[in-house]
């Protein structure tokens, strides 16, 4: 992948300038403008992923064509077209993203020597396949009409600001914008600049600095650091991953806005969440809502179980049977019988007591959604475990947490308790998230060593539990003063009351454009000076 067109590289802004020149000539001719944007987006993707642009084109053509035919079909035929679209999208995703995982896992579980060699992961495939999948499902559900113009649809799928790492945009939100004329106020332009600048600051000043000076080192070699440093690394990572991903989303939203397109917010101060459920409503919102609408609800949601819920729960029992097998056993029969028995009892009790049945179905559906959400991030046991932990967190809150007297209290201490508890839980689960994510698109695919990933997570836990105080707190403070200071500032800014941030944004957007220009010059110059030598990729490029 070429790094020239990363949002943090100057060349991207020359590319953007070219696009803006094109837009200013075609702004009132929607069809031509969309075709131009489609071409520009393909060029952008070609520059980042070379020949994979043909895969993107194939996916676009297939979904556009299928949706058009599906719209004219009824009943079984309609279902078959949808199935074809799902198979194509999930097939591509499965091949490029999960082939390693299944090969490695089957090799480990069944002691086979089957291995998959060198499949490169096309950048952004998880994002654009989910986007096209949602389009096909929406057309099937008759929630959106199929897009007539191929260029309009192409522009929707490949829109370069959000192509490689989201936010995942729904057709119903974006297609109407493609069919209307360019319309942007000066205030909105300033807001776009604000998003871009804050995104760049988050990425370059916070995320890259923390990664280079603490997080990457700790995760690369946890055994070389005391437990306290590992904890510091974990809290640093929580801030880094937020600053990195929300920074990217902010820039994407800002760039789209100055081009005249409005994308929905992807983050809403997630670490202000009082429980895990609320956190997922504030973090990577476009994915959370996608999973809710196209996975959780079709599985039965909070109403009932479906065939998917049953398959999932049987799958979990089989998985446990495989994991706990001993010696030459194909499966651990004890676990299989126990799990199978428990499952049958659960479903039987669900049938007998309807209310309990609904609750049970909800729990299974939540867990399944979170595990699949975990696996969306990558083919690794760590992501699976991370998803499961988050699912458990949601269930614990649903079953116990929300019934506690202080759960909904508006008292400051009650709120703070919820925020601290949730933040620490989310940070703790990231032990597995970070150990299973290999940074950079170049290492995301292939060469996944699930054992190394486990060991990294285990080493982190080992250091925390056995070597917590190896370095005195004062030495820790002295040794990581800059990092700790930056983290403190970062978290304070993040936890700033919305009232204050809204005021600041409002103030900025009301400024005269020459003032905005001067601020932009100052900020970009400083960012260039403090930026790291190598263009650090955005973490979510690998997903």
């Amino acid at each position: 992948m070429s790094t020239d067109l990363l949002f943090t590289r100057p060349a991207f802004y020359i590319f953007l300038l070219t696009v803006m020149v094109g837009l200013s000539m075609l702004k009132n001719k929607a069809a031509m403008r969309n075709a131009f944007l489609f071409a520009a987006s393909l060029f952008f993707y070609w520059k980042t992923s070379a020949a994979f642009v043909f895969l993107l084109l194939f996916s676009t053509v297939a979904d556009w064509g299928i949706a058009a035919v599906m719209d004219r079909s009824e009943n079984l035929q309609r279902k078959l077209w949808l199935t074809l679209s799902v198979l194509i999208n999930l097939g591509l995703l499965g091949f490029f993203k999960y082939a390693y995982f299944f090969a490695d896992s089957s090799a480990m579980l069944f002691d086979s020597s089957f291995r998959v060699e060198s499949i490169l992961l096309p950048v952004g495939i998880s994002f654009y396949t989910f986007q096209t999948l949602s389009y096909s499902i929406d057309v099937y559900r008759r929630k959106v009409a199929p897009v007539k113009s191929f260029f309009d649809f192409g522009c929707y799928v490949t829109f370069f600001p959000q192509l490689v790492a989201g936010p995942i945009v729904r057709a119903k939100d974006f297609i109407p914008q493609l069919q209307s004329k360019y319309d942007l106020s000066r205030k909105e332009f300033n807001l776009g600049v604000w998003w871009i600048l804050t995104g760049l600051i988050k990425k370059i000043v916070i995320a890259d600095y923390l990664a280079m000076n603490l997080v990457d080192r700790v995760f690369a070699n946890p055994l070389s650091y005391s437990g306290m440093e590992v904890l510091l690394g974990l809290y640093g990572y929580s801030l880094q991953v937020y600053a990195d991903f929300s920074g990217y989303s902010d820039i994407a939203i800002g760039v789209a806005l100055i081009m005249g397109f409005r994308l929905a917010e992807n983050f809403r101060s997630p670490y202000k969440a009082r429980n895990v459920g609320e956190f997922w409503g504030r973090w990577h919102i476009s994915l959370s809502t996608w999973l809710r609408d196209y996975l959780y609800i079709p599985m039965g949601g909070s109403r009932s179980s479906s065939i998917f819920s049953v398959i999932f729960s049987i799958g979990m029992v089989l998985f446990a049977g495989l994991m706990f097998r001993e010696g030459e056993e194909v499966m651990n029969l004890g676990v299989l019988f126990l799990g199978g028995g428990a499952l049958m009892m659960m479903y039987a009790s669900g049938v007998m007591y309807t209310k309990w049945g609904v609750k049970l179905a909800t729990y299974i559906n939540i867990l399944a959604t979170m595990i699949i959400g975990g696996l969306w991030h990558g083919a690794s046991w760590n992501f699976l475990l991370w998803g499961a932990l988050n699912g458990m967190g949601l269930l614990v809150y649903k079953i116990i947490g929300r019934h506690l007297p202080w759960a909904k209290s508006e008292n400051f201490l009650a709120k703070a308790w919820g925020v601290i508890l949730t933040f620490n839980f989310i940070t703790f689960t990231r032990i597995w998230f970070r150990s299973g994510s290999s940074i950079g698109w170049d290492t995301a695919a292939g060469d996944h060593n699930i054992l190394t990933e486990w060991f990294t997570a285990n080493d982190l836990l080992y250091q925390i539990t056995n070597h917590l105080y190896d370095i005195p707190p004062l030495d820790l403070l002295q040794g990581h003063l800059m990092v700790i200071s930056l983290m403190t500032v970062g978290y304070i800014l993040h936890l700033m009351p919305t009232k204050i941030t809204s005021k600041v944004i409002n103030g900025f957007t009301s400024l005269h454009i020459t003032v905005v220009f001067c601020i932009t010059i100052i900020v970009t110059t400083v960012l260039w000076k403090v930026g790291a030598a190598a263009p650090a990729p955005f973490i979510y490029f690998q997903f």
């Binding site: 100057p10 060349a11 953007l16 300038l17 319309d183 005391s226 056995n466």
Partner: protein, 488 residues
């Protein structure tokens, strides 16, 4: 409100044109990056100066510090890193038959004829190893060797050839757990070091060969486990040797393992400056060992885990040290500690910690002098041993968003090389062996990552590669020596 008026795309285009234009002129941003790894001109200058300063009366085995050109340095680094530097497998014949003559210049040892004779003496000792004898190798270094990095790779390889097992010396408290063993401790145990931040409450300097000791009061327990990911040879221990410093009122030690029967031994009372050891024969299996101490106050200056014969290779990292610690250790104690064993080779891998603080040639010379004093001192303590100095690796620094090699790195390396040769020791230039200027930045971006993003430390994979390079260089010397004596 003016900001509610329409904003045209052409305005945005104009905004971007002005922004890019001003930034281009004020910050000289390179809009299309080709390669940002550069070497500073000062470094080239230093390298050339040093090249002319080489002491003429010494006849080196190899003494080449090639003139460095910035572009060539970058190209070389990139070219070398396109394919792994070491594609050879340790157990392939071409590796084991490699001799100095066909070894790349940058991987060769440098030194005088005297140093060469010393190295040959070490090889003689290696070949003379039998079922009753043991030879020790000490690898002292800075944080670059922490966690048994580099040493572990050499140990695994050499023990396969010349016998021996186990990780060698480990401290009672290991703050930076190594790949060799996993350690835990319980009870009232405190660690003191003579490097890094020094605890002045310790009333003496009898730290021993590891420059670190742990003091147990009343009782303490140390549990060691073979690391599941460690080298196979590290995981089996036939002997445990507990090294004791002062124990004013004596005490007791109980050693127990999963396969080793519990053994209780008395620790004789001794005052500061004492050096004694307690040897325990183990079951020789992969097992967890527990060392339980009881006593008013007992100082542990190390625990050796290994075999009764063959090679014992000790990894002794001293974080933040630049190798000038040895003279500050109590001489008599230090001597007893090291002379107790047959030390065949001492490897000193330092210099990296001084690099960020050396701003001119005079400072580099000053460091060279201080390092020479230490080397000379160590040679008086271990006159029969061979000394190998490994200078700093390539070290990057980020300046104005560009990765540069530290400007004075060349001067420091040259000073270290000069004093090493003058002291009849061998010098191995890891900077050159790894690929020269700019390599660290390239390694930090390679797949898999061989260097960490601080552009100073190797990742475990990078350290393994350095271990393999060193192994290759030493084996080439060994093969050449074998050929030389066969020809006699």
């Amino acid at each position: 409100m003016t900001n509610n008026k329409s904003h045209e795309p052409s305005h945005t285009a104009l905004f971007l044109i002005l922004l890019i234009g001003i930034l281009y002129h004020t910050t000289l941003i390179k809009f299309f990056e080709v390669e940002e790894i550069q070497e500073s001109k000062e470094m080239v200058y230093e390298a050339e100066i040093v090249n002319q300063e080489i002491v003429p009366e010494i006849e080196p085995i190899v003494f080449s510090l090639p003139e460095v050109d910035i572009e060539i340095a970058i190209e070389t680094a990139l070219e070398r890193n396109k394919t792994p530097i070491l594609k050879t497998n340790l157990w392939r014949p071409d590796y084991d038959t490699c001799v100095v003559a066909n070894l790349a210049n940058e991987k060769k040892f440098s030194g005088s004829n005297g140093a060469k004779q010393n190295l040959w003496r070490f090889f003689e000792k290696l070949n003379g190893l039998n079922s009753d004898s043991k030879l020790h190798v000490f690898h002292f270094g800075d944080s670059q060797i922490e966690g048994d990095r580099i040493t572990g790779r050499i140990r695994s390889s050499w023990q396969k050839t010349w016998g021996g097992s186990g990780p060698g010396l480990i401290p009672a408290i290991q703050p930076v757990p190594a790949l060799a063993v996993r350690q835990q401790h319980e009870g009232d145990i405190k660690r003191f070091t003579k490097f890094g931040k020094i605890d002045t409450t310790l009333e003496h300097t009898c730290y021993g060969g590891m420059a670190t000791l742990s003091r147990i009061r009343n009782n303490g327990k140390i549990t060691v486990n073979p690391h599941p990911m460690g080298f196979r040879k590290n995981q089996v221990w036939h002997q445990a040797e507990v090294l004791i410093g002062a124990a004013p009122l004596g005490g007791s030690l109980t050693v127990s393992g999963e396969f080793t029967d519990s053994i209780a031994i008395d620790i004789a009372p001794s005052s500061k400056g004492n050096h004694s050891s307690i040897l325990v024969e183990l079951a020789g299996k992969k097992e967890e060992l527990i060392f339980s101490f009881e006593g008013h106050e007992i100082e542990i200056t190390g625990i050796r885990l290994g075999s009764e014969n063959g090679l014992a290779i000790h990894n002794i990292p001293m974080r933040s040290s630049s190798g000038t610690v040895f003279k500050s250790l109590n001489k008599e104690h230090f001597k007893k500690y090291l002379q107790n064993w047959d030390v065949g080779l001492v490897i000193l891998q330092f210099g990296g910690n001084t690099v960020p603080y050396v701003n001119d040639e005079a400072a580099a010379k000053s460091y060279g002098k201080r390092f020479r004093t230490q080397l000379k001192y160590l040679k008086t303590i271990l006159p029969e041993s061979t000394f190998l100095v490994i200078g700093p690796s390539d070290m990057g620094i980020t300046s104005d968003s560009t990765a540069l090699t530290y400007p004075m790195l060349g001067a420091i390396r040259a000073e270290m090389k000069k004093v090493t040769i003058l002291e009849e020791a061998l010098y191995w230039d890891v900077f050159e062996a790894m690929g020269g200027a700019g390599t660290m930045a390239v390694w930090a971006k390679s797949t898999p990552k061989l260097a960490s993003s601080d552009l100073v430390h190797f990742t475990p994979k990078g350290a393994k590669m350095i271990g393999e390079l060193l192994d290759q260089s030493l084996r080439a010397e060994y093969r050449s020596w074998e050929q030389a004596i066969a020809g006699e």
